[in-house]
Symmetry: C2
Subunit: 121 residues, 2 copies
């Protein structure tokens, strides 16, 4: 199947459906490097309309958007629309959420900064 539409592009395997209370909707998760390693890297795919809840990371996080269309918002800031090629540097302890637009999947790599400082809250 030939397509110019990056909304369906998945360079890294989509992984497994991730169930939990941290998300509204369906998300897929593939750990490219393991949890608990020096540099955990996740490939995250949000189904249309799926977003995570407000949360923060003790050491901060970086999002590298690889496909689709979605949003990122920090507390007390307007939501920022994201597309393939965008980079988001999330500071430590800053409350935020991210997820897909209602009409598009949304795929990004998520990399913890200073993972030793603790999990997401």
């Amino acid at each position: 199947m030939c397509t110019n539409d990056l909304r369906n592009s998945v360079i890294f395997a989509i992984g497994d459906k991730f169930a939990g209370d941290f998300f509204t909707g369906t998300v897929w998760l593939n750990m490219l490097t393991p949890f608990g390693s020096a540099l955990p890297i996740a490939n995250v795919t949000f189904e249309p309309g799926c977003r995570n809840n407000w949360h923060s990371h003790a050491g901060g996080q970086i999002l590298l958007v690889t496909g689709g269309r979605g949003y990122y918002q920090e507390r007390e800031q307007p939501a920022r629309e994201l597309h393939a090629g965008d980079v988001v540097q999330i500071p430590a302890e800053v409350k935020h959420w991210h997820g897909a637009a209602n009409d598009s999947r949304f795929m990004h790599l998520a990399i913890e900064i200073h993972p030793g400082k603790g999990p997401a809250t």
Copy 2:
């Protein structure tokens, strides 16, 4: 232009030509997050036939291959062919090189682990 051929896919901007003695051939570099930050992430594009010299990283490095075809080799190991979607976890202090096949560009993200431990040698 419509293509299934990921060898030409570039999700992140290609950046600028990088000149220096560390490479045979032409390489392009786009820092997605800055040098000197807590987590420097580079988008690296090797022109066909271009490879870097034997080197190592004090804290280790992770390569996330986003397109093209290339090789990775550690000292005293056979060369490993790489394609879009491959992940390479390079241990600290291990001598290695990576670069493009002779007939293809090669694109990967490169992320330093523990960048505070020092530069590549």
